[in-house]
Symmetry: C2
Subunit: 275 residues, 2 copies
């Protein structure tokens, strides 16, 4: 693991690190905020959206201000494999910057695009080995494509992710142009495999053993692609403990995220600091 | 004036606007955060540093979280004229992105590079005419080159800028490579003109009728160019009311700014909300 940079932030340390990923067969970069706290530190994962790297949320979300106050670490992974070796597409919503948090089974993606395993196993082990991070007290959140990743990873790995929330998640990708195109390319045409990566389908089927927090802007320019109505339907049918806030007038930007960052960090801190 | 974008943020509105500047003879862009507040709103100016546009601090400083709580508007001007018409240089620290908040008298800069008048007069009038901004209650801050601009503009226009602070300002440009090169290019070789744009010289000579707040990271990678010791010397010689915080371990980044953004906004709010 290589240290790319470290800056003091809110009394803690904002680092950027890179390492060779066996899982993705390429060098991967992530940001990690460690608060000023001794002992084993609870960790919040933040998964970013389409076109983002590890950097966008690290510099624009304002999450660390709240993480410092509540004693959480925050990790900001990249959204896909990178570099000349990994496949890519000219589209902003397929390939690099658009990993969709799945393990690709189709060519040319299968070798590198394994973000599901990367997040839930490899990176999890790497940081537990290199930082004083709690293995037990970990939660996950994310924005847009990253909200999709957070919800699907948490629902299927609730023992690893003890708290979950999302900002404007892609809530029902099997019924959206943000989903069908990518799942077809990465997973092939068997829709049963797609449904394993659809938060609305999974929630209805499996549920989550904790309260899910969702914030969604009512003026989000991508409402038709995000399909929050499908997630609300699943919450209703299952009586899933959840707080779903439709926020009047907010759009899809980081300005929306930063406005509600404090609510989300406190949501995770309540669960994780009690473990 | 054209609206480029508007996003809801912390209950208020983060806008980006552009307009033709008579002063700079080109189109200029700025960000303005308006809090949710009725009546005439106090305004905090944030001047950015070398290479920045209106956007960096708007998306990375976290100032608006605190401005929303204290009822301040925040304006984020650009750091120089822009575009093919305006002169430029291949250097990052001269020309576009490096206006240094002076009125250039030398060629090829004199026609466009008039940031002193742009900030203190033209943009001030434009926003007073277009937004419910108080003309009386305005303060100014900034980072690095923008900290230099904030201090020099406030010291020489204390009736316009009733509160002042700075993050890691270029404190003594007449004795720094961040200053001599630019002043020579923009202002010519008469050092008396340079001294009108040096915060340490001005503070010793004129002082400021209020407490000046400065934060400076002790691990700032540019300490030798910023020369905080000159500003401390002026504060000491004049017994200038000031709070100068040398912050252990912080560097020159926006992580440093966001850590202390709350302190600075509260400093300005105490003065401006009492006017």
């Amino acid at each position: 693991m290589k240290t790319r940079s470290e800056s003091k932030l809110f009394g803690g340390l904002q680092g950027v690190y890179s390492h060779y990923s066996e899982c993705c067969s390429c060098e991967m970069t992530f940001g990690l905020f460690m608060p000023e706290r001794s002992g084993s530190v609870p960790l919040l994962w933040f998964l970013s959206g389409l076109t983002c790297t590890h950097e966008n949320a690290m510099t624009k979300s304002g999450l660390q201000a709240w993480a410092a106050r509540t004693g959480l670490a925050v990790i900001f992974p990249d959204t896909s494999p990178r570099g000349d070796a990994a496949a890519d597409s000219p589209d902003y919503d397929l390939g690099q910057g658009a990993g969709f948090y799945v393990n690709a089974s189709q060519q040319p993606w299968a070798r590198h695009f394994r973000m599901w395993d990367y997040i839930s196993s490899e990176l999890r082990e790497l940081i537990a080995a290199n930082f004083p991070i709690s293995r037990q007290a970990q939660g996950i959140t994310g924005h847009s494509m990253g909200g999709h990743g957070a919800l699907t990873l948490a629902i299927r790995n609730s023992e690893k992710f003890r708290s979950v929330s999302a900002f404007a998640p892609i809530a029902n990708p099997v019924a959206s142009d943000w989903g069908r195109k990518q799942f077809d390319a990465y997973l092939g045409d068997n829709r049963e495999n797609w449904e394993l990566h659809d938060a609305s389908v999974l929630l209805k089927r499996i549920g989550y053993p904790g309260t899910i927090l969702i914030d969604q802007g009512s003026s989000d320019q991508f409402l038709d692609l995000l399909r929050p109505q499908a997630l609300l339907d699943s919450i209703g049918r299952r009586s899933q403990p959840a707080k779903f806030n439709f926020r009047a007038g907010y759009d899809h930007s980081y300005f929306f995220i930063s406005t509600f960052a404090g609510d989300h960090v406190r949501h995770h801190a309540r669960v994780l600091n009690a473990l």
